[in-house]
């Protein structure tokens, strides 16, 4: 390591006053929306069918589940950790809910009503998050492995519970979240927007959020400032589980029954959207509005490519590449800073 830079931070350096025009700063911070705008223009000229209102509504509705996953992962990333189990939590909570509520021979027979079911799902998500958080924050386990192992456990449990059956249908009050409408707007979109608005607010105005960012940015400095680092990380995972469960809620509603088959792509997509939305994989940075932009962007690209009859599996590979390139750029930037 070049010690030059290490000493720079100790000895006083005269920094030139950065005279960046505010417009440039604004552009860079909201880069993702720029991309969205570009994409919209491209779409207008190449595939005008894209702009049918039904199509746009469709996109938003379909993004709702993914958007939950992205939000869940974002909270975790800001604290400086990774959650690989968000997708499995999504599926598990859906199966679990079905098991509790559906009048199906393979279900529990409890046939709980929709409202109870909603609480049960949330609780399940929070508990899963709590276990993850405990193992990672208090037992100091490697976050990747612990959450991956958890996800395998959850998926296995799903299959065990359902025995391969598609359990359904859900009671109406529950399915409302996936299928219903509030006024002219589909319920999933309302849920999506509501949750995002709530968390945007939370991340900007609460002390917890401050501690979250601090822990992600420099856990030592956070600790030295009186932040209970372990508790913050634990909470991040609980929130992640909870939000994934909300996604499970929306998913169940939309599918009408518990769905088992989801590929691992969603995890990739979630990461990609978060990273494009400005969340640093190293922790300590990320804004909800930009993340939302990342979700929109990704879904738009997805839809455009489907309309253009591009093989969907190519998209999978592409999202992997996106994350990779984003991390590559960040890593190189970090290395350059260190080497001056």
């Amino acid at each position: 390591m070049n010690l030059n830079k290490k000493f720079e931070s100790i000895f006083p350096v005269k920094k030139e006053k950065r005279t960046r025009s505010t417009i440039v700063v604004l552009l860079l911070d909201n880069f993702v929306w720029l991309l969205v705008a570009v994409l919209l223009i491209v779409a207008y000229f190449t595939t005008p069918v894209f702009f049918k209102s039904s199509n746009l509504v469709n996109i938003l509705t379909q993004s709702s589940v993914l958007a939950m996953l992205v939000l869940a992962e974002t909270i975790c990333l800001i604290s400086g950790y990774f959650d690989m189990s968000i997708e499995s939590t999504l599926i598990f909570t859906s199966v679990f809910a079905a098991w509790l509520m559906a009048p199906h021979p393979a279900a529990s027979g409890l046939e709980l009503n929709g409202i109870v079911g909603i609480f049960a799902i949330m609780a399940a998500g929070a508990i899963i998050g709590a276990v993850n958080g405990f193992l990672i924050a208090y037992m100091k386990m490697n976050a990747f492995i612990a959450t991956l192992a958890m996800s395998i456990f959850l998926l296995g449990s799903c299959v065990t519970i359902s025995q391969g059956n598609t359990i359904g249908p859900f009671p109406d009050s529950f399915a409302f979240f996936g299928e219903g409408k509030i006024g002219p707007i589909p319920a999933p979109i309302v849920v999506l927007v509501a949750v995002y608005i709530i968390f945007n607010f939370v991340l900007k105005r609460t002390p917890f959020a401050r501690k979250l960012y601090a822990v992600g940015g420099n856990p030592n400095a956070a600790q030295a400032s009186g932040v209970n680092v372990k508790r913050v990380v634990f909470s991040a995972y609980v929130l992640s589980g909870l939000i994934s469960a909300i996604g499970g809620l929306v998913l169940s509603g939309r599918m009408g029954s518990a769905v088992l088959h989801m590929t691992r792509d969603n995890l990739m997509y979630a990461f990609a959207a978060a990273v494009i939305g400005g969340v640093s994989p190293f922790g300590g940075e990320g804004r909800i509005v930009s993340v939302f932009g990342g979700v929109i962007l990704l879904m738009m690209i997805n839809k455009l490519l489907i309309i253009a009859h591009v093989d969907p599996f190519l998209i999978t590979g592409a999202s992997g590449l996106i994350i990779f390139i984003a991390m590559l750029i960040l890593t190189i930037k970090q290395n350059l800073i260190l080497e001056d």
Binding site: F144, V159, T160, G320, L328
Partner: protein, 338 residues
Amino acid sequence: MQNTPISDSIRTQKNTQKFQSILAENFVWVLVLIVSFIAYLITPVFYSINNLSNLLVTSTILGILVLGETLVLMTGNFDNSLEITLMFTAMVAAWLTVDHTYASGLLLSPFWGIVIMLGVGAAIGAVNGIFVGYIGMQPFITTFATSVVVTGISILTTGGSILTPYPESYIILGRAQVGPFPLSGLLVIGLYFVFHIILKYTPLGRRLYVVGGNIEAAKALGVDVKKTQLIAFVLAGILSAIGGWILSGRLNSASSQMSSNQLLLAFGAAVIGGVKLGGGEAKVSGMFGGVLLIASIYTLMNLAQVDVYFIRAMTGLVILGAMLFDAIRSGAFLKARN
């Protein structure tokens, strides 16, 4: 200059300390003994030649994955892409040698198919190794991204179809028997032996330990840490390719659905077998024990007719257990207790 010798420490460790450390290092065999005993109680059929042979078959792929993953873990990294590499290289071989609509139509001889297959495995490993070792990317994300990209490519080129059948000579490795035992199993055992030699008696092997143990010291002592990490990934890739050869031979087909989700299990086996997650410690005998343990548990549960899905769920628990074990062993537990 014959002064009295200088030293502060006692010359050799006490014998009890030595015994304790040997026990701790070979803990996996204790577990194997326990499981073997339980197996005997539950169903003596476990010890039939037939079953033992089955055990070997089950362990083969797991064994290769464990070996490859261990090499990478030893250097302080993690490889997410081994199973996908296994699948992909098998598909490459199929694509080159099989007569199928989705194949290339090149119909190369199996020899070339295998050579190129190994080359592709090495190439994937090289990509991983360059990004992690030379550019400094996070190993988890990098290998995850690699696996996703490779999956995408494989699905793209074959559209998810199953390529079959392979040429006769190709499937020999996957299917042949030597007496009651599968050839592939014996090959893997052989590979373990070879790597034991490499790790203990070659500079390359020792460098793996050094880089994993203390990368700063390694650099200061003149070891090319970047190259060593690269080599670890490349070797893991080649081993995965061998695994692909074995599995596709056994199934006599290749498709993008081939993977059996064993990578995490392999990781668990490696950890139980003694690999330190931060790198720098590994015993081939331990790996062997780990594979044996996991495979035994799996076979036992099958014999006892435990629900297949339940086994899957248990897998996750096993991994968590392995990690807990590693965390406790390295004292993280004590630090966490602070």
